[in-house]
């Protein structure tokens, strides 16, 4: 199990430095706004749309989002960190901070299964009862330091070609958000690789199986469609085996 803090820091700092996904510079001004379903989304913040059905986001972009209760309209917490099971390639949940100035960590966590909606502006839960006390949290959320780290791994194709280094986890938003891919960076820019249970992970290297490699894309929009196609072509890859979070 791993917190992807390192990846989040990397992505955030890369954007602050003005480094684009393709290695060039980008502006943080209005040109980085994109439109989705008639609404604007700030690409600098890491939010993208992939297709009409699939909404994807870099996990790093969830950091700092308020956790809002649907039954009271209150902001109960904010996202501190993303907890990702790198062995099974799935999103477990989030650690939390209290809201407000100088607020520290909250002694509660949020399981991905308890999320009603993960959007660009907030993480929505039914009520404060949806937050899990630390004492009752799964071990993965309570103790996240022992297993493999996926962010920072070299990504290697079955052919032996090194594709780059994992810099972020791509999450499908909506109800019960789940990890669907990795952002991989090399000198030429970024590419996006779909997660599968067949991926080998050593803590240093992530090996991408050939059937997943053909769905790799160098833009997030194209990757959304690729993920949908990938699922369609691998009907036996149910949620648990395809890296989903059901």
């Amino acid at each position: 199990m791993e917190r992807i803090q390192r990846g989040m820091d990397f992505a955030d700092s890369a954007y602050r430095r003005g480094v684009s996904r393709r290695g060039g510079s980008h502006s943080t001004q209005a040109s980085w706004w994109q439109y989705r379903r008639g609404q604007r989304y700030n690409e600098t913040a890491g939010w993208f749309v992939m297709s009409n059905q699939l909404h994807l986001v870099r996990a790093s972009a969830a950091k700092g989002l308020p956790v809002v209760t649907i039954d009271t309209g209150e902001d109960a917490a904010e996202i501190k960190d993303v907890v990702f099971d790198s062995e099974r390639h799935h999103l477990i949940g989030f650690t939390l901070n209290k809201r407000g100035w100088l607020a520290g960590s909250l002694k509660a966590t949020l399981l991905a299964d308890h999320i009603i909606g993960l959007g660009p502006d907030a993480v929505m839960v039914l009520s404060e009862a949806s937050l899990t006390a630390d004492s009752q949290a799964p071990e993965a959320l309570a103790d996240t330091g022992s297993a493999y780290h996926v962010v920072g791994n070299d990504v290697i194709a079955e052919s032996g070609k090194v594709l780059g280094t994992v810099v972020d986890v791509i999450v499908e938003t909506g109800e019960q958000p789940r990890a669907v891919g990795y952002e991989v960076k090399d000198d030429g820019g970024s590419m996006f690789v779909p997660v599968t249970a067949q991926m080998g992970l050593s803590g240093k290297n992530l090996v991408v199986p050939a059937e997943a490699e053909q769905f790799t894309r160098d833009d997030l929009a194209g990757f959304g469609a690729a993920v949908e196609s990938f699922r369609y072509l691998l009907p036996n890859n149910d949620d648990s085996s395809s890296g989903g979070d059901a």
């Binding site: 809002v68 209760t69 009271t72 309209g73 209150e74 902001d75 909606g117 660009p120 907030a122 929505m124």
Partner: protein, 148 residues
């Protein structure tokens, strides 16, 4: 049914039937957590000295005056929702609007309500979007939450 606008009714004078005295003006609306029912009006003072009138003690909510059944109906409150409203920390007018999918939809510009019952009928956003009461899930200090 008399449809009233919260925005237009702000500062409307509140008058008692029994004494004919001016009791104050509509300063804020205390709206239930459900986001669809006005509980009382904040009519005078702030913080510890804030004065309220319960919706059930209104004789009428007219276009020109709000009429209260008795001057004795005016009261203070230590209820957190009331005090937060009086301080301006909880106000449906100007509230952020969030969908259950986590998308911010805008800010509440006005609210239409039934002047007879205090039931919210719709929230009007600054963008002009109208959100019917049936879509409203809750009102809190952070946001008015509506169905995606």
């Amino acid at each position: 049914m008399s449809v009233q606008s919260m925005k237009d009714s702000l500062k409307e004078k509140v008058v008692a039937v029994d004494t004919a005295d001016d009791l104050g003006k509509v300063k804020h609306y205390v709206v239930a957590t459900s986001g669809v029912q006005i509980l009382r009006l904040h009519i005078d003072g702030r913080r510890g000295g804030a004065q309220f009138v319960d919706w059930d003690d209104l004789s009428s909510f007219g276009d020109d005056r709000v009429v209260v059944t008795s001057a004795d109906a005016v009261h203070e409150s230590d209820d957190e929702r009331d005090t937060d409203t009086a301080k301006g920390d909880l106000n449906i007018l100007g509230s952020r609007v969030l969908s259950t999918a986590g998308h911010e939809l805008g800010e509440v510009k006005d609210v239409e309500f039934d002047g007879g019952t205090g039931t919210v009928m719709a929230a009007i956003l600054k963008s002009g979007t109208r959100i019917e009461a049936a879509s409203i899930r809750s009102l809190g200090r952070y946001a008015l939450v509506v169905n995606a």
